[in-house]
């Protein structure tokens, strides 16, 4: 009987590992493939007789060189970073006070507004992008990175507010009351007390908003028409072609650079992000 138990346990462990490995491979394979393609010579890549998993010719940095010297890729990286920083700044400026106000607002209105703000996040870009393109044109921001900077907070703010609300709510009121008894105004208590304490929440919002900026596709595709003003998310799949031909080597190099750093940073903050997310939803 003891044998039966340990055999069953070994079987479950084996199945578990099989599932884990299967999913890990399936989910991360494209990035692994990007890695290989980046360093393979073109002649090796396009030779149908070669085993694609092996290097039949020595690896090369040619694709990377091409990417950085002869395409607009560095430009796109710069555009995206520029937009990202500004959007995060705007988001923080608007979402942090809003989340605080909502978290401290007692009564039904606090709940209602909180839910309303969250619901706006559900309004999809594919519904708003047409009218927004008109608005962008009217504002004269057509085909500039500023269209992105102005429009993106419309979806980073609602989610950040909702995330931060959860964080702020978990800080007991007594802390602020104690500060006010000590002589601070409510605003000072907010700045000197709440903000430092919720630093981890704010950091989560920063990371999350930045990734939202880098991941966005529809608005950037719609508002920006010239290649040099484009972001990485749109530039890479759309403009890294010559005529009808995709330059896969450089393309995959670009994909790798656009994905991995974000992936690493996001992973470091994943626990905080999950805590914030479940805080907000599972009360």
């Amino acid at each position: 009987m003891a044998v039966r138990r340990s055999r069953r346990r070994r079987l479950t462990a084996a199945v578990r590992w099989a599932v884990l490995v299967g999913f890990s491979v399936a989910l991360s394979f494209p990035f692994y493939w990007m890695l290989i393609t980046t360093f393979k010579r073109t002649s090796d890549l396009y030779n149908l007789k070669n085993n694609p998993f092996l290097f039949h010719e020595p690896p090369t940095l040619e694709h990377l060189r091409l990417l950085f010297r002869e395409t607009l890729f560095p430009r796109w990286l710069w555009n995206t970073a520029f937009a990202g920083v500004l959007v995060v700044a705007i988001t923080l400026l608007l979402a942090v006070p809003a989340a605080y106000a909502l978290a401290r607002l007692t009564g039904r209105w606090g709940e209602r507004l909180g839910i309303a703000i969250f619901l706006t996040y559900l309004v999809p870009p594919t519904l708003l992008f047409l009218p927004l393109s008109r608005i962008v044109a009217i504002l004269g921001l057509q085909d500039t990175i500023w269209s992105i900077v102005v429009v993106y907070p419309s979806f980073t703010i609602p989610f950040s507010t909702w995330l931060l609300m959860g964080f702020f709510k978990s800080i007991p009121r007594e802390l602020e009351d104690a500060a006010m008894v000590d002589g601070l105004t409510r605003f000072q208590a907010f700045l000197r007390l709440m903000v430092p304490i919720s630093l981890s929440g704010i950091l989560t919002v920063v990371i999350f908003s930045f990734t939202l900026v880098t991941q966005e596709f529809v608005y950037a595709l719609t508002f920006i028409s010239s290649a040099s003003h484009q972001t990485v998310g749109v530039g890479v799949p759309i403009y890294l072609v010559r005529g009808d031909v995709y330059y896969w080597g450089s393309l995959m190099a670009a994909c790798l650079i656009a994905s991995l750093p974000i992936g690493v940073v996001y992973n470091l903050f994943l626990d905080r992000f999950i805590a914030g997310f479940t805080f907000g939803s599972v009360k």
Partner: protein, 282 residues
């Protein structure tokens, strides 16, 4: 404190939202500032067009199939991830990648993997003697396969997000509930189907609602993989709206098409509010 955020959101979400309706009942075109009210003419012409009907059907197939896959795979993945083990951090990193990387970047990566000539998947299939070397599957070139590819790639992208949500649900189940089941004599499957999954229902609900919204309103994967092709067979509502409104310059019709996304969104919003209210009462 609250006002700036509200103003911003109202301006950039509320106003365009209303404008969408405004355009849909007019005859706006890109580049012109004329406007004539045409009532429901746009809507009726859209409803009659076969392209729209096909896009609507595709949207439904796309959403239903990918969400089913996500639910099953997400739960399985959450199950194996919830207990600690060595290497969990690394596995988690690998599993999270499809969601973190920009979806457009991931999609273009898949485009290379599914390329008509150089697909690595086809290479493996040919070596395994599962397909003929001279007529390998055209993943993005043949209608049914293209739909399957698009569904699978989208599922690949959304799975990590759903898994994270479901994982939160799985770890929230107290340890003594499955122990009570063991003492009560319930086997693995009875415990799973009669106790664990019903307890997970609220969180599955949340994951599903999010997933439906993201999937039904998404056009990125399709735009990059197939541009809606071959011959519009993978066109969905949002991508159709894009092609009509931006590339076809017909803002009015594009807006009308995208408005058809609303009924589903309203339904989802209503369900979410219901769940939130019930969670507070209970």
């Amino acid at each position: 404190m609250l006002l700036p955020a509200i103003v911003y959101v109202v301006a950039l979400v509320g106003v365009p939202f209303l404008l969408a309706f405004y355009y849909a009942v007019g005859d706006v075109k890109v580049g012109s500032t004329d406007y004539h009210f045409v009532g429901l003419a746009n809507f009726s012409s859209v409803l009659e067009s076969p392209a729209f009907r096909r896009a609507l059907r595709n949207s439904i197939v796309f959403t239903v199939c990918s969400q089913l896959l996500v639910l099953v795979c997400g739960n399985v993945l959450a199950l194996v991830l919830k207990d600690a083990f060595r290497g969990r951090r690394l596995i988690r990193f690998l599993v999270i990648l499809p969601w973190v990387a920009p979806v457009s970047v991931g999609s273009i990566g898949w485009k290379w993997i599914l390329d008509s000539l150089y697909s690595v998947i086809n290479w493996v299939l040919v070596r395994l003697h599962l397909v003929n070397e001279f007529s390998p599957p055209m993943w993005l070139g043949e209608p049914t396969l293209a739909m399957i590819s698009v569904i699978l790639v989208h599922t690949w992208h959304v799975l990590p997000f759903a898994t994270v949500i479901l994982l939160a649900g799985w770890t929230a189940i107290p340890r003594d509930i499955p122990e009570a089941c063991a003492v009560d004599g319930a086997g693995y499957f009875r415990t799973l189907f009669q106790v664990t999954l019903p307890m997970l229902l609220p969180i599955i609900n949340v994951a599903l609602l999010f997933g439906i919204v993201f999937t039904f309103t998404d056009m990125t994967v399709i735009y990059i993989l197939t541009r809606g092709g071959p011959y519009d067979t993978t066109q969905v509502l949002p991508s159709l709206a894009f092609f009509t409104g931006v590339l076809g310059s017909d803002l009015a019709e594009g807006a009308a098409i995208s408005i058809f996304l609303l009924p589903l969104l309203v339904l989802v919003a209503w369900r979410m509010l219901r769940t939130a209210r019930r969670a507070e009462v209970g």
